[in-house]
Subunit: 414 residues, 2 copies
């Protein structure tokens, strides 16, 4: 007999059905017992005579019985006269998964992830993650972007120098890639428009609620742009699609107006009352800008463009009208940086000059610079941190809640 998913049970009233799933909850009352069976589509109620021995919570069962209408059952249909077969035994779970809210501190949640992720509230975050990744790819594929897979092991720690993990590569030193930045730019020379969804690695020594040692980066890069505003337009489409894709998961609604507000960095400093010589926005400044965007523009997103060149990587394109500023941007989501992006330099001579200005030799960048030496269009791109998106979306106070099996300064398991 074909399996019936709990979602489809209401349509099968009157039929004999076969359910499969986990015992989400068992309840023995005086006159009757219930099993709530959980599968990937939801919950189903199974009714048994009182006194029958009930399998424990998280036991995996096959239940064959008759589906009958019962207005007070979940979905209006329950399964009666069941034959129950145990497919997988279970010891009692470390936390009670049947409670509407998981009552566990963060370390417990993470130490027992194999079990706690089964709770509907946890599962939901990662179902949203899958939908968000799908929307990212779908939007870009429809816009002529090509997916790429770039190396995660690299020869030199060039991109930012600090915070790289060293690996033993057949007896030689190598490093884990902090981002696909150099490779996605190179691939603009091949496909013009590329994206990648993959892990990035940051040997982040700060033990904060916002940092992970590895996370999922949603990267895009596109050529033949006029300036960073073309990149921002693609990004706006992407976040709109991601926001729509996660809307079925029951998180607080996200405000995405038709046009996302944009503020220049210099104006942003003024708006938040910061010193005009500040080289970056502090977290409280970002919060204030987020609040402004929400109240003034009905937007959970706000672009800040024009960050000072001094604070941006050497590949950043300066603002043509005033090279103190850059053609780069951040996108804040509910007052926290979610995306960094911008226009990149595209002329070989400009790279040589930018590196020289920073006192750096071009030698370690040789294979990266080859792309520019041999013809590259004006281009730019962005990177979205998936876990941060989920944290702001779900209201999680710690980004560790939005990685399946997070890694940080202290945590390497499970």
């Amino acid at each position: 007999m074909q399996r019936t998913l709990s979602r489809d049970l209401p349509a099968r009233a009157g039929a004999t059905v076969r359910l499969e799933g986990w015992v989400h909850r068992r309840r023995a009352l005086a006159k009757v017992s219930f099993l709530i069976v959980r599968d990937r589509t939801g919950l189903a109620q199974v009714v048994l005579p009182a006194g029958r021995e009930l399998p424990g919570e998280e036991t995996v069962v096959e239940v064959t019985g008759r589906a009958v209408a019962n207005p007070v059952a979940p979905g209006g249909v329950e399964v009666v006269e069941p034959a129950i077969r145990v497919l997988g035994e279970a010891e009692p779970p470390p936390v009670e998964l049947f409670r509407p809210a998981l009552d566990a501190a963060l370390p417990t949640l993470l130490d027992h992830a194999a079990v706690t992720l089964r709770h509907p509230s946890r599962r939901n975050v990662f179902a949203a993650a899958a939908a968000a990744m799908g929307a990212f790819r779908g939007t870009l594929s429809a816009a002529g972007f090509t997916e790429i897979a770039t190396p995660k092991i690299v020869a030199s720690a060039t991109e930012s120098g600090a915070n790289v993990f060293a690996i033993d590569y057949f007896g030689r030193p190598a490093y884990l890639a902090q981002s696909p930045q150099f490779y996605k730019q190179t691939m603009v020379g091949v496909f013009e428009r590329v994206f990648e969804v993959g892990p990035v690695f940051r040997a982040e020594p700060h033990d904060t609620s916002r940092h992970l040692a590895t996370y999922t980066s949603l990267d895009a890069e596109l050529g033949f742009i006029t300036d960073h505003r073309d990149v921002m337009a693609v990004l706006a489409d992407v976040v709109r699609a991601m926001t729509t894709a996660v809307s079925p998961f029951g998180f607080p609604g996200v405000l995405v107006p038709a046009t996302l507000p944009v503020v220049h960095f210099a104006d942003a400093l003024r708006m938040v009352g910061a010193d005009p010589d500040e080289p970056d926005l502090a977290p409280e400044h970002e919060r204030a800008l987020g609040e402004w965007a929400r109240t003034e523009h009905g937007s959970d997103f706000v672009f800040v463009e024009g960050y000072p060149m001094a604070k941006r990587p050497f590949y950043t394109h300066p603002q043509p009208s005033d090279p103190r500023w850059s053609n780069s941007f951040d996108l804040l989501f509910r007052g926290v940086e979610l995306v960094t992006g911008g226009q990149r330099r595209h002329r070989y001579a400009d790279y040589l000059a930018a590196l020289a200005e920073r006192g750096e030799s071009p030698a370690p960048y040789e294979t990266y610079l080859a792309a520019f030496r041999h013809g590259m269009p004006p281009h730019g791109g962005f990177a979205i941190g998936l876990e941060r998106f989920l944290a702001r979306l779900s209201g999680a106070t710690n980004v560790r809640e939005t990685a399946l099996f997070p890694r940080d300064l202290h945590r390497l398991t499970p």
Copy 2:
């Protein structure tokens, strides 16, 4: 003026158009000159008066001119009276990209990947890669699978022991994940059906044409199966979809009959005339089976099931009728192993017994075994090597040709 892509040029005859792309080739004849401009959709011909200075190959240009019909031009339309603006200068490329076939040895191809990947024949392989990844995800998403992102840094080198890369994790030892095996099984407990597309890492000391130090693994795992045949059925759907998705890219057609042939390992040994006590198939055996599948079944694919338990990992489910054999399989594509998969054990007690039998302590597996301790359904899965798929598809003799920036025993750049 909006950019016209070369693909759309035939529809714009008579109009003034703006092209953007790379100078693929320049040709100065006695009475006229030509520029062939390459963009992400193909090639376009631009006609200039003789004697005008022509930008070098790979220069990035914007060409504004009039589109006119010319039956001998590519696509039947060319651009005349052009104004040409250089967007990005280019030094002469290290290999001639305008030749129909790239005349370069493998090291040259790889050392200059930033440029050689622009050649249509190279680009095509990775456009097919993107289509294959999309088909993998699309097929599984439609079948109720959820995408996951699992850790690439792990605490112990448990899965196979050998061939792992060690990393310095904040002063502690850690390792790069050889596969998402343990995590995808764990996630069956959460989503029942999961997939992941991501990098895996093998410190492969063999310098062969088949091995890479890191490659893209297309992983899937599903619960509530009867046995490995349910897994093979999903895999057959996936390879069929991948094969269809890459069909526009002009590689030799792939034979995929309605039912893929299946041979038991013991029968396979007999068929290829090998010693019945052989524990594995040698490459020449796989080639012979591939040949048999092609001639007897009109299939480029053949399943071999039932590999000896002794040669499979401890999580492999034995064949119930004879536990010398396993409920595992390989899928050969044109005579080479492309996929490994099978049914896994799902009972905690079975894991403890399997580890004890191999003389291993369960302690390093504690967080993995937690999933089984707390209830897991019968399940199984598979992993497809993307680069191998592309190599067999394209006829590449070396798998390094099918990774954008391959990594091996000797190669860490570009």
